[in-house]
């Protein structure tokens, strides 16, 4: 599938390419394929591609002299024959503890959306979410696929100290805070998983295009996993789901 793309110069070094502004798995696939083509054509030192829901930013380490030449190159690359292999995507099981100790907003959230807590937990942990991209904070996953009955606008007053690992719902999205941060999302649980570690390369074991399934765990399991994950020998492959 081919989309009508918009090309524009973003600054002296960068080009913005935009797809239709919607959240859609076909667009995500198209973005990841184009991103791969660009990364295969240029070296990592000369170019970087940052992706989001429906756009990519291509950052050149040299100043762009003739923007029209760059547009032409990119357009040609976009329409060039794709390699047949699919973009590799993994599915990870991410443990989440929904215990009131972590789920500080679950009670109020349950009243607001008029659903019992166990239904919320089931609806939140049933789907397999798609990772569209990582942004906002280092290791913050933008996930698609939240059940619409769980949608609820962000809190009017943000919480100034949301703990690392907190699992929240904000508008139509769900996500995990990879570090302590202020934020306006309704916190319904906590994951012991380390989503970002600056000592690892790459610093995230999950990437755009991967999938995530939340797996409810008890407080005790949360505690246990937390200490396992702190062990440098912890292997993220143990979180892989076969499908």
């Amino acid at each position: 599938m081919s989309f009508q793309l918009q090309y524009s110069q973003y600054n002296e070094h960068s080009i913005l390419v935009e797809w239709p502004a919607i959240i859609d798995e076909k667009i995500l696939q198209d973005i990841l394929i184009f991103k791969e083509k660009i990364e295969n054509k240029y070296t990592k030192q000369s170019i970087q591609v940052i992706s989001a829901y429906s756009s990519i930013l291509i950052f050149y380490n040299i100043t762009i002299d003739n923007v029209n030449d760059v547009f032409l190159d990119l357009k040609e690359l976009y329409s060039s024959q794709r390699n047949l292999k699919q973009i590799e995507s993994k599915t990870f099981r991410v443990p989440v503890c929904y215990d009131p100790e972590f789920a500080m907003d679950l009670e109020a959230y349950s009243e607001e959306i008029k659903l019992p807590k166990d239904t919320i937990i089931r609806l939140h942990s049933d789907p397999i979410y798609r990772v569209y991209f990582i942004g906002f904070l280092p290791g913050f996953l933008y996930l698609g696929g939240l059940n619409s009955t769980l949608h609820l606008d962000r809190k009017l007053t943000p919480n100034l100290n949301i703990k690392k690992g907190s699992v929240g719902i904000g508008g139509k999205q769900t996500g995990i805070y990879p570090q302590d941060s202020p934020g306006g999302w309704h916190i319904i649980g906590n994951s012991p998983i380390e989503l970002f570690n600056s000592k690892h390369n790459p610093p995230c074991f999950i990437k755009a295009g991967d999938r995530v399934k939340f797996h409810p765990i008890s407080k005790l399991e949360h505690q246990k996993m937390k200490s396992e994950i702190n062990n440098p020998k912890f292997d993220f492959k143990t979180l892989l789901l076969n499908d």
């Binding site: 524009s8 110069q9 973003y10 600054n11 002296e12 960068s14 913005l16 935009e18 502004a21 919607i22 959240i23 990592k44 970087q48 591609v49 940052i50 992706s51 989001a52 829901y53 429906s54 756009s55 990519i56 930013l57 950052f59 380490n61 991209f133 990582i134 942004g135 906002f136 904070l137 280092p138 290791g139 913050f140 933008y142 990879p178 570090q179 970002f196 600056s198 000592k199 390369n201 790459p202 610093p203 995230c204 990437k207 755009a208």
Partner: protein, 282 residues
């Protein structure tokens, strides 16, 4: 080795930033005024991208535990060697036991000090730029001992003739280009951006600078999309936010303007209350 006797208001080690990890949400960081930091390095014969000390508003007191060469650029914070005024924008020899300190802020807002060889703080994800959540410390602390790289490189005599153009510190007209959502603004909003004198508001730091006055706005948020340092976002409440070096990698507010690299450097040298104008670059 350099011992931190006093830190100053907000002092960090910065190089030219962390470029390769934005797909994981890692900010670029790096010296706010990259021009000044690169020049500081050139004066001591370093690679332009070597790590320097960035000092904000007030300078640090530093005790040198070995002899070396330094250079100071950027904001004029009245630098002193053992209490005696020293010039900026040239290499200065410092001996074991000497102290570098700073006094009154005369111009600009951020001062850079390069040391021959460059600072050797933690390298994380390809950069020494300090940032909360990435490096161990996010700014230098009292009693820190900062290592520097051994450098056998001789300082080229021609460096003495290097011209550092410090006039940009006083510039108050900043070049911008249109941001991706610029055309969604009304003619009236567009005119306001370029005709009004803008003012740097109290919220200004390494992540972002807020500019006033408010611009009445009814533009909706956009589907979260990449942003860069220099991107000017217009929030639903009409605030103009210029993203700076430590900014996040993506954002959901309309991106109405984009500062040029030079304009980011100029803005880095402004502080609360500074007035400026912006001009569309063709």
């Amino acid at each position: 080795m350099i011992k931190v006797v006093k830190t100053g208001f907000y002092s960090t080690i910065q190089d030219q930033g962390r470029l390769g990890h934005r797909n994981y949400g890692v900010p670029i960081s790096g010296a706010m005024d990259s021009y000044s930091s690169q020049f500081a390095n050139v004066f001591v014969g370093n690679d332009k991208a070597a790590a320097v000390l960035e000092m904000t508003m007030t300078g640090a007191d530093l005790l040198f535990l070995k002899s070396t060469t330094i250079a100071i650029t950027g904001a004029d914070m009245s630098p002193k060697l053992n209490g005696k005024a020293i010039p900026m924008f040239k290499s200065i020899i410092v001996h074991n036991g000497d102290t570098i300190s700073f006094g009154r802020l005369e111009s600009g807002f951020r001062t850079y000090m390069a040391v021959k060889g460059g600072f050797l703080t933690d390298m994380v994800l390809g950069s020494r730029s300090m940032l909360k959540g990435i490096t161990n410390g996010f700014r230098i602390q009292k009693d820190d001992c900062l290592d520097t790289m051994k450098s056998s490189k001789l300082i080229l005599p021609k460096n003495a003739k290097l011209k550092f153009d410090a006039s940009y510190l006083d510039e108050d007209t900043l070049d911008v280009i249109k941001g991706p959502e610029f055309d969604k603004l009304s003619k009236n909003q567009q005119n306001l951006l370029f005709s009004d004198t803008l003012q740097v508001l109290k919220y200004n730091n390494r992540m972002a600078y807020q500019l006033g006055p408010l611009i009445q706005n009814d533009l909706e948020s956009i589907l979260t999309s990449p942003v860069l340092p220099g991107t000017v976002q217009l929030t639903p409440s009409g605030q103009l936010i210029v993203l700076m070096r430590d900014c996040q990698t993506t954002g959901g507010y309309p991106r109405v303007l984009q500062f040029t690299e030079k304009s980011i450097n100029i803005l880095s040298q402004k502080t609360t209350g500074s007035n400026l104008k912006i001009r569309l670059k063709d």
